[in-house]
């Protein structure tokens, strides 16, 4: 029995913990009255930077719940120089995300090669009809205005690779292989 606390100590501890809790501020979030203070990168709603989208379909194909629908058509830009080749360009006709089946896994945002998809912390888009949970590209574009600026890097973090590459290019006057 050595080392075991005295009989009944646990009972007093229970009383002490609950009383201490009562003297402290509650942790309740008073949501409708007070807006929540969400951390950056909160997964509220997916915003579409339509101008960046090349209709590559990567997001639609990676989506585990198949909630992204993309339609596009090809337009031809005539060659600007004599004897040049015509350029073809994908133009987005339709980009829908059905939030009634989206599972907020963030794979589409990770996979997008052109940073056309972003998380916005907005979460209050409940609807009376499930059909209205499908946001079209105009609505998804509007969410872009609510996307916060990227989170600042931690102090002492590695230099981002874009900046590292730029600085490397500045320091070496010639890029090897380009001289010929």
């Amino acid at each position: 029995m050595m080392g075991r606390p005295m009989y009944g100590v646990g009972l007093l501890q229970g009383l002490r913990v609950t009383l201490r809790n009562m003297t402290r501020r509650s942790v309740t979030a008073h949501y409708p009255d007070v807006q929540p203070d969400l951390p950056p990168r909160s997964r509220g709603v997916i915003a579409l930077q339509e101008e960046n989208c090349t209709s590559c379909m990567l997001c639609a194909r990676e989506c585990p719940s198949w909630c992204i629908i993309i339609d596009s058509h090809k337009e031809t830009i005539p060659a600007t120089t004599e004897g040049g080749r015509d350029r073809s360009l994908n133009v987005l006709d339709r980009f829908d995300i059905d939030y009634s089946i989206c599972m907020y896994c963030s794979i589409c945002i990770e996979v997008c090669p052109f940073d056309a998809l972003h998380w916005s912390p907005e979460f209050a888009y409940a609807e009376g009809d499930i059909v209205d949970l499908t946001h079209d590209m105009n609505r998804l574009r509007e969410w872009m205005w609510t996307v916060p600026a990227p989170q600042a890097l931690d102090p002492g973090a590695e230099v981002p690779k874009e900046i590292a590459a730029y600085e490397a290019a500045q320091s070496s006057p010639e890029i090897p292989g380009m001289a010929e």
Partner: protein, 322 residues
């Protein structure tokens, strides 16, 4: 004529206390329990910190349909809530609150057998949930009813023994007499009795941690499973009225009732204050402790509380004889 007026006035006061004090305790439970769990509790009803939550609950209960299960024993089922609630009203008649601005004791009726009367009434109150359990025609209710019966058998004895110890020390069964005879050193001499009485009272009221008859994880809601609307509200009210009666009885028997500075003027305030403190203890125990298993409930009564109460009675006997 003035006698009649006196009686009517006392009745009005008792009924008024019966309608308000349990609600105050209920509201205190809502808020104190919430803050002990780092929540805020009701905030909307009544605009200021949800003060009208229980009024809103009452309105909701009153609107609900009264349902009697086909398998229920009709008469018993309908009578049970009244049997649970009315005894506490009856008990309140005999509980003194002390001097009221120089007037005589604030009490419905001073009985020579007041202690006996109140304890008897409290036991009848428990029969209400027993009737509800056996009359509902539901197996969960039935098991809950059996647990109520077991709990009633176990805890009646230590409660009465602890109360008897105080009655012996005071030499009277009148609650006013006991409170007048109370002396501060009884706090120490009657401490085991106080603990036994309070714990047994909790069990009698089926308050957590002694809510094995309700045990919502195993028995849905025990004897109250089939109840809804006003009948359920009456059971709920009887629970809080029971807390008030237990708190009042504890303070009269063990805490000196209205003893305190200027008690001949504001004795009733001291009484109410002690009732609130003891009610808070009841709520505190609910938040702090998990539910006892059915065998633990009975083991605690027979192996701890009854011996403790007997020791207390023996001790009091010695003190009285000396």
């Amino acid at each position: 004529m003035s006698d009649l007026l006196d009686i009517v006035l006392r009745c009005v006061i008792v009924v008024g206390a019966f309608m308000t004090l349990p609600l105050l305790v209920g509201q205190m439970e809502h808020k104190a329990m919430a803050h002990m769990q780092s929540r805020v509790g009701p905030m909307k009803a009544g605009a200021f910190h949800g003060w009208a939550q229980l009024v809103a609950d009452g309105v909701k209960f009153a609107q609900k349909e009264s349902i009697i299960p086909a398998a229920a024993d009709n008469a018993v089922f309908r009578l049970a809530p009244a049997v649970a609630l009315v005894p506490y009203l009856v008990a309140m008649v005999a509980i003194p609150l002390g001097p009221f601005f120089g007037q005589t004791d604030l009490i419905g009726q001073d009985l020579d057998l007041g202690l006996f009367f109140v304890l008897a009434a409290m036991s009848v109150g428990v029969l209400g949930s027993l009737m509800g359990g056996l009359g509902s025609g539901n197996k969960y209710s039935y098991i809950g009813g059996m647990r109520v019966a077991a709990q009633l058998m176990s805890y009646e004895l230590p409660m009465v023994l602890a109360a008897a110890s105080v009655a012996m020390a005071a030499g009277t069964l009148s609650l006013v007499g006991i409170a007048n005879a109370w002396e501060p050193w009884w706090l120490l001499a009657q401490l085991p009795g106080l603990i036994v009485f309070f714990t047994a009272g909790l069990a009698e009221l089926q308050r957590p941690p002694f809510d094995a008859p309700m045990a919502d994880a195993e028995l849905v809601m025990g004897p109250l499973t089939e109840y809804g609307g006003m009948r359920f509200a009456m059971f709920l009210l009887s629970e809080y009225a029971g807390i008030v009666v237990l708190a009042a009885l504890t303070s009269v028997l063990f805490l000196g009732g209205w003893a305190g500075p200027w008690s001949d003027q504001v004795g009733w305030i001291w009484s109410l204050l002690k009732i609130v403190v003891v009610s808070f203890l009841v709520i505190w125990a609910r938040v702090a402790y998990p539910r006892l298993r059915e065998d633990q409930v009975n083991a605690l009564a027979w192996k701890v509380l009854v011996p403790l109460a007997l020791l207390q009675v023996t001790l009091t006997t010695f003190l009285v004889v000396l």
